[in-house]
């Protein structure tokens, strides 16, 4: 299993770079991943809205939400989500939010 060295913690990630243990997630880690994975220098309020929404949903239900639900609940259309996270909701936003890799076709 690959790891990323972040500060003085070792974070385990899978081969696509998804954090394995959601408990290791911090806002700083999200900023770090944003830079590394998405080339984003800073995260705006809208970025955080999506990230926190995903984390809350995951904590409540144990899975990532359907994309339709994500769009509806955040009020952002899918195109805008791709603008925020160029790799998209699954590979981008979920990764930054420290969720394990969404399964299936998300």
């Amino acid at each position: 299993m690959p790891t990323i060295q972040f500060g003085d913690v070792q974070v385990e990630v899978d081969e696509d770079g998804f954090v394995q243990d959601p408990k290791q997630w911090t806002e700083d880690l999200a900023r770090y991943l944003a830079k590394q994975e998405e080339g984003l220098d800073n995260l705006t309020e809208d970025h955080w809205k999506v990230i926190h929404y995903l984390r809350d949903y995951y904590q409540q239900f144990g899975i990532a939400p359907m994309i339709r639900k994500l769009c509806k609940d955040t009020g952002f259309d899918l195109k805008y989500i791709y603008e925020l996270f160029p790799s998209g909701p699954a590979k981008g936003a979920c990764k930054l939010a420290g969720l394990p890799k969404p399964t299936g076709c998300v």
């Binding site: 696509d16 339709r68 790799s87 590979k91």
Partner: protein, 397 residues
């Protein structure tokens, strides 16, 4: 052959037919990935298990579909296929290429990938097999520079495809190429950014011969048809008879609805238009004498799919006849209503055919605003009960 590393695969080189093993061995001379691919496949044949890991999630910026993640679960033994991702590249309508476009595509793929291709996948896309993660973005960038775009994958609109239609085929009742291009352009967002419960496929055939097998392989199938009479050239009919074609037995006798009569004394073929179900049999047999009618359009069918939650389905007719002329507003609007209806109601990984199966055709037709018409059923049903919607029931008082 005793010391071959792939004795099982070598069996597949025998015989006079084309062999993917031969081709991949040839590719392996240039590309180590092709060699490792063969060795991994040999191991799979030996152990009878696949060695690809599932659930990889890779892609290019701005797109959610078009790249399918593949990782070997034995990177220790096959390091060159450790990452072996697949690109789906949107094919041109009707699969027409210039040879220079093909060369360009292959050059790009030699540069970034394994050099192995598959023309074409089940959806119709060009399949580029096997690139490492770090090459995905640069490969995509170069493909785009040369005018190529990715196709669909995952829970999105899959790349629409169409038969060659009017480009080469006199049977075409609609311009399949233009329609396919229009739908592809219109729904770019749905194609590249998966957001649906599952996949949605659209295929277009120019006539009921249905050369792209749309009825069995697409959620929404568009099949060219006509609503007036088959066009007949009486002299050409007589010429077929003179050449010894058994019109009574071969043509009339095999018309599924017995819509044809042959009058040998007058050498005349009579077609009862209202009986004809447009199966194409007589036209295929006598192409010089018979042609589709003049008033042309398409039949729309919904719900075709392979076995998943439910068994395999063929498409159901939902619109017996629709004119198909640019800008295709009626069809595009209907498609939007269908997408929404399905997207709002379907469970995860439920195809539209399965959703209609679950909620009923009546609900589907009502909600997307299509009238139920007799052409939707093969014959009147035996069960006389009809379930009225509550608002249709009025008291007599």
């Amino acid at each position: 052959m005793a010391n071959s590393k792939t004795p099982r695969l070598d069996e597949l080189e025998k015989g006079r037919w084309p062999s993917f093993v031969k081709i991949m061995k040839r590719a392996a001379v240039k590309k180590p990935a092709a060699g490792d691919l063969l060795k991994q496949l040999e191991l799979s044949y030996e152990e009878k298990v696949g060695h690809w890991k599932h659930g990889g999630i890779v892609g290019v910026r701005g797109y959610g579909g078009g790249v399918i993640g593949r990782y070997s679960d034995r990177p220790d033994r096959f390091p060159n296929v450790k990452e072996f991702h697949t690109f789906r590249v949107n094919q041109p309508s009707g699969w027409f290429y210039t040879s220079s476009a093909l060369r360009q595509l292959c050059d790009i793929w030699d540069k970034y990938g394994s050099g192995l291709t598959n023309f074409h996948g089940a959806t119709g896309d060009i399949i580029l097999l096997g690139a490492p993660t770090e090459n995905l973005q640069p490969c995509f960038d170069e493909l785009s520079e040369h005018g190529f775009d990715l196709g669909g994958s995952g829970s999105d609109l899959r790349t629409p495809s169409a038969c060659v239609g009017p480009a080469r085929c006199e049977y075409a009742c609609v311009d399949t190429l233009d329609l396919c291009h229009t739908i592809t352009q219109e729904f770019q967002n749905e194609l590249h950014r998966p957001m649906w419960p599952y996949k949605f496929k659209i295929k277009i055939s120019g006539c009921p011969n249905d050369c792209v097998a749309s009825i069995a392989r697409s959620d929404l199938s568009v099949i060219g048809t006509w609503r007036d009479s088959i066009q007949v050239d009486p002299q050409a009919v007589a010429a077929y008879a003179d050449q010894g074609l058994d019109i009574q037995g071969e043509i009339c006798g095999k018309c599924p609805t017995r819509a044809l009569s042959w009058h040998p004394e007058r050498k005349e073929l009579e077609i009862r238009r209202e009986e004809c179900v447009r199966c194409m049999h007589c036209i295929n047999k006598m192409p010089k004498a018979l042609r589709p009618g003049r008033e042309r359009g398409a039949t729309l069918l919904i719900g075709g799919k392979a076995t998943m939650k439910e068994s395999a389905f063929l498409g159901w007719v939902i619109v017996p006849f629709m004119k198909m002329e640019p800008p295709y507003t009626e069809l595009l609007d209907l498609l939007r209503r269908i997408f929404n209806w399905w997207d709002e109601r379907a469970k995860n990984r439920e195809r539209i055919g399965e959703l209609i199966y679950r909620l009923g055709m009546r609900a589907f037709l009502h909600d997307v605003g299509l009238p139920p018409v007799p052409q939707m059923v093969a014959r009147p049903r035996a069960n006389p009960y009809y379930y009225w919607r509550p608002e249709e029931v009025r008291s007599n008082g």
